[in-house]
């Protein structure tokens, strides 16, 4: 078992076209590190140079926004589902 991470469509070209990938980690920060090891380049699209989540990107752990939990220190465990959802402007 691992943690399922849902990838926003523009980043799916970095995950070989997969909309959901399996990753591991104890918290969201770890998990994003593992995601970037498996699919290099994903993290810089989600986090800024200091490693903080970009302000127009939200991460949900089991449908709860991590801003209302413990941010990137929010704990995750096997079987959890994590969604990465950026604001989009196109019309």
């Amino acid at each position: 078992m691992a943690i399922t991470v849902r990838i926003p469509t523009p980043l799916q070209r970095l995950t070989n076209g997969q909309g959901e990938v399996a990753c591991e980690g104890k918290n969201v920060s770890d998990l994003l590190g593992d995601l970037d090891r498996r699919y290099p380049g994903v993290k810089e699209r989600i986090c800024d140079e200091t490693g903080k989540l970009r302000r127009f990107v939200n991460v949900f752990v089991n449908e709860e926004d991590i801003r209302f939990l413990q941010g990137d220190q929010t704990a995750v465990k096997d079987g959890d589902e994590v969604s990465i959802i950026p604001a989009i402007a196109g019309g």
Binding site: Q12, G19, R45, F56, N58, D65, S83, I85
Partner: protein, 267 residues
């Protein structure tokens, strides 16, 4: 108000819905909606709202019809290229439904006109194509207490949510700040299939019609996310953020202010 024979004929397929009927049709004709952006999302929104008989519709857009618009912006035809979108869109929906009143506003929705524009309509639908306008539309709707339907689409990804100011999460509650200038990556990811813009725009129109009619449950505190590669809709619960800059407990945005953000690849 009783409906004319022509109205009964025109609206018959929605009139026979128990959720609509004559009283619902009257609610539609008494409604007024401002549509920001007459593009890929605005096209189906304007089409369905006017076709359904929404009595007063405003459409604001600063651009002219471009060749690159035609694959998704279904209000326009090839001979329209070069003409102002707001004007062409208004003409098109007036032909579709001459019974409604349509106001074309050629120009940008900006800090100077946002408050005034928003307060002249009951409801606002944001189908714009850039972050600065989206945050401005949200702030103006929260400050003027106008129901807002928000939708976005790009690169196989779509999102829709509605906002009932100070009762449900606003756009800023979910995404506190727009991307900084220079922080949004390349334009090569900015494409979209026309049908996906139509899908998201239709969902926005549906959301607006439902809200006017008081049918069912609006997308309040629910962000619908569409993954066009998987053809999968998901929904994430969102909630009001007590720290929200515009609708939180200690708002820092108390009047319309212009917004700096990275431009997106329009057109």
């Amino acid at each position: 108000m009783a409906l004319s024979k022509a109205q009964v004929a025109r609206y018959s397929r929605q009139l026979i819905l128990p959720e609509v009927g004559v009283s619902g049709q009257n609610r539609l004709s008494e409604a007024s909606v401002l549509v920001i952006g007459a593009g890929g999302l605005g096209s189906p929104v304007l089409f369905y709202l006017s076709a359904a008989g929404v009595g007063r519709i405003g459409v604001i857009d600063a651009d002219a019809v471009a060749w690159s618009n035609l694959h998704r912006q279904t209000l326009y035809e090839t001979p329209d290229v070069g003409r102002p979108k707001a004007v062409v869109a208004a003409e098109r929906i007036r032909r579709l439904n001459p019974e409604i009143s349509v106001e074309a506003i050629e120009g940008r929705f900006d800090a100077a006109n946002a408050k005034d524009l928003v307060s002249r309509w009951h409801m606002v639908i944001d189908g714009s194509d850039n972050f600065a306008t989206r945050y401005l539309a949200n702030d103006a709707c929260v400050l003027a207490n106008r129901f807002l339907v928000h939708g976005g689409v790009v690169n196989f990804q779509g999102q829709v949510m509605s906002v009932r100011p100070r009762q449900s999460a606003c756009y800023r509650c979910v995404f506190p700040e727009p991307p900084a200038v220079g922080s949004v990556p390349s334009c090569q990811e900015a494409g979209v299939l026309g049908a996906e813009a139509g899908l998201i725009g239709s969902l926005m129109a549906h959301e607006a019609l439902k809200a006017i009619l008081g049918v069912g449950e609006p997308l309040l505190n629910r962000l619908v996310v569409f993954d066009g590669r998987l053809s999968r809709f998901r929904e994430v619960p969102v909630r009001r953020n007590p720290d929200c800059a515009v609708c939180g407990e200690h708002p820092t945005i108390n009047a319309i202010q212009s917004i700096e953000s990275a431009p997106t690849c329009a057109g």
